[in-house]
């Protein structure tokens, strides 16, 4: 009798286990983000975390984050989430590529969404479970460059970089070409001053020194790709403007809409990574994730310009909006 009961119990348990392995996930989908910067940094870390949070809330996924991790902990942090049964890992930066590829090899059922990853990263994942999310760096540069070209009076622009990443170089190129194009339409010539790199995303003091020197050289519109270093630059710009008695030097922020954060910010280039994360989540739910590059662009709404400051005259705002429309239409610089 005991053997029969044990057999029945075993059958019930196996049945329950099999039911829980059905198509519908009983505990819902889960996404985890790893990040080397602080998610409260008011810059890159915050923008990426908010994007993941918004995407997860929209899709009804649960989410978790581990921030402020050092390079030696990238892999361990990722596999810890994989082992906990997370469905997707969101890694916001090309610096996580190697760790993601290694983990993707060991956890074929986990999806890896690599923001700012390289175009060829998905093809390197043996199990085809990694996709790159790539905001169009050239368009990011265009959005800032067009306004810079319109607003500059000295004809000199400043750009401060954190690290010499491929995405940063793409933004610089886009910024310069758009500014030169727009300025030429206005009968102006524009020069992008030497681009310095802080070799850091947190050393705000260096940003301040760079900006001070670039202002000394005549730069009157700034853009940057250096997170907290940019905040140091804005400190120098605000100090210069305060001494001058009016706002003469401007800054264009990124990647979130930061209008009002500093007096010198006249607009922001906004990157909405959540649209690409939502697309990745939908692919996971449909069982079709991996092996592709999801581009974020002006056309699909992942990139945009933020609110424009009153410091930008109405006629320039009008021209700028027209250029933005050209970028969306694909006719800019053509």
């Amino acid at each position: 009798m005991k053997k029969v009961l044990a057999l029945l119990l075993a059958i019930v348990m196996v049945s329950l286990a099999l039911v829980s392995c059905g198509d519908e996930k009983k505990d819902g989908y889960k996404v985890a983000m790893i990040c080397d910067s602080n998610i409260n940094d008011g810059g890159w870390g915050a923008a990426c975390y908010n994007a993941m949070k918004n995407a997860a809330e929209k899709k009804g996924w649960s989410y978790e984050v581990t921030d402020k991790i050092t390079q030696d902990a990238y892999y361990d942090s990722i596999v810890a989430y994989c082992a906990l049964g997370y469905d997707m890992i969101f890694a916001p930066g090309s610096q996580y590529s190697d760790a993601c590829l290694q983990a993707a090899k060991e956890y074929p059922n986990v999806a890896f969404a690599l923001l700012n990853g390289t175009v060829d990263a998905p093809s390197k994942a043996e199990n085809g479970n990694l996709s790159s999310l790539l905001p169009n760096a050239q368009q990011i540069g265009w959005i800032a460059g067009a306004l810079a070209g319109l607003m500059t009076t000295s004809g000199k622009l400043g750009f401060i970089g954190g690290m010499e990443l491929e995405t940063t170089k793409g933004k610089i190129a886009g910024f310069e070409e758009a500014a030169k194009y727009v300025a030429s339409k206005e009968g102006k010539t524009v020069e992008l001053l030497n681009v310095p790199y802080a070799n850091s995303f947190s050393d705000a003091a260096k940003g301040k020194e760079f900006a001070t020197e670039l202002i000394n050289q005549g730069a009157d519109v700034f853009f940057g790709d250096a997170s907290a270093v940019d905040s140091g630059a804005r400190s120098a710009i605000d100090e210069y403007n305060a001494a001058a008695g009016s706002v003469k030097v401007f800054d264009i922020a990124q990647p979130a809409d930061s209008l009002g954060q500093n007096e010198c910010i006249i607009c922001s280039q906004v990157t909405d990574n959540s649209a690409m994360i939502v697309a990745s989540m939908e692919a996971v739910e449909a069982g079709k994730f991996g092996g592709e590059v999801l581009y974020g662009s002006l056309q699909n709404g992942a990139l945009s310009a933020g609110k424009i400051s009153d410091l930008v005259p109405a006629d320039i705002q009008e021209k700028y909006n027209a250029y933005l429309q050209q970028m969306i239409d694909g006719t800019f610089m053509k």
């Binding site: 409260n40 810059g43 030497n194 705000a204 905040s231 954060q261």
Partner: protein
């Protein structure tokens, strides 16, 4: 000429946090306390200074002129308190200085990051404060070329110079200063002369913690007006090198920090100077090349306190 003057101005700005942190270490090492936890102390100082200013500015915006001073003071007190961990462990428990200094470097930035993390959410944006305004001395600040360099600076620049002058007189011209140095040279002999060795060592740690944290707070409250993890960016370790380079004297430390500040300013300035076709990676390496070169020369002739880093046990007298 203006290129050179702006280089010097930049060097002074970059030297001040280094100077404050190096002076902290000088006061520690002169009493035999080798505290390598300066980076951590500066980090907790930067956070405390920023947070105090941020909260006070929110509650009492009319006091924004004095909040940086309150922030600096609170930062110093926070550094003092945190450094008591090191002091108790190394003086009372006779633990290894290096181990506890490194523990501070791990613990204090993590504590600062934790406090910042629970104080701001990802949707708050970047917290910012008004920095301490510069003071220009009327008449003198308008002298061509050197006026701005010497007479139109942040008040903390003048405060730091006063601390350097005071330290030089204290360590070389006063009985108290010589007694203090004796603790770092031969604590057993100092004790036989009636110098309260343990008390001096604790005072040294209090001064060290206070000044190192003020050095960190200078960056957040007087320089950039914000806080972010990693804002100290290795300045605590450069300050350690500056103490050795400066041969444990306040005037030497002044020169060492100005030298390091000048190297850093040079690399920052060269990167944005047109017509210099040197790869930026090489330019960024200038402060490191200079540090290694100078320390390899100076290090061979070091004249540090003899009992540096050694535990003091009264029963071994």
């Amino acid at each position: 000429m203006s290129w050179f003057i702006s280089l010097l101005e930049s060097a002074v700005r970059l030297s001040i946090p280094l100077l404050l942190i190096s002076l902290a270490e000088l006061y520690g090492q002169r009493a035999g306390m080798v505290n390598i936890g300066l980076e951590g102390l500066a980090a907790i100082g930067a956070l405390t200074g920023f947070m105090v200013c941020f909260k006070l500015n929110s509650a009492f915006p009319e006091l924004s002129n004095i909040t940086p001073w309150i922030g600096l003071l609170c930062a110093g007190i926070a550094g003092l308190v945190v450094n008591m961990i090191y002091a108790f462990s190394t003086i009372t428990l006779c633990a290894d200085h290096t181990v506890y200094g490194m523990a501070l470097n791990i613990f204090a930035p993590a504590l600062a990051s934790f406090i910042y993390g629970i104080s701001f959410t990802s949707e708050d944006g970047l917290g910012q404060i008004a920095t301490l305004s510069g003071i220009g001395i009327p008449g003198l600040k308008d002298i061509p070329y050197v006026g701005k360099l010497f007479f139109d600076q942040n008040p903390m620049v003048y405060v730091t110079i006063v601390i350097i002058i005071f330290s030089s007189i204290f360590f070389n011209k006063t009985r108290a200063g010589l007694n203090y140095k004796a603790v770092g040279e031969h604590p057993q002999a100092a004790a036989t002369l009636g110098i309260p060795v343990v008390r001096v060592k604790y005072i040294a740690c209090m001064i060290c913690g206070f000044l190192a944290a003020v050095g960190g707070a200078y960056i957040s409250t007087c320089y950039v007006g914000t806080y972010t993890d990693g804002i100290i960016a290795g300045r605590g370790f450069i300050a350690l090198a500056a103490v050795i380079f400066g041969r444990w004297s306040s005037s030497g430390i002044l020169l060492a920090c100005l030298f390091f500040g000048l190297c850093d300013a040079l690399q920052l300035k060269l990167q944005v100077t047109a017509g210099i076709n040197i790869p930026y990676q090489f330019i960024q390496g200038i402060p490191y090349f200079a540090t290694i070169t100078i320390l390899s020369i100076i290090g061979a002739k070091q004249v540090g306190p003899k009992a540096n880093g050694q535990p003091y046990r009264r029963e071994l007298r």
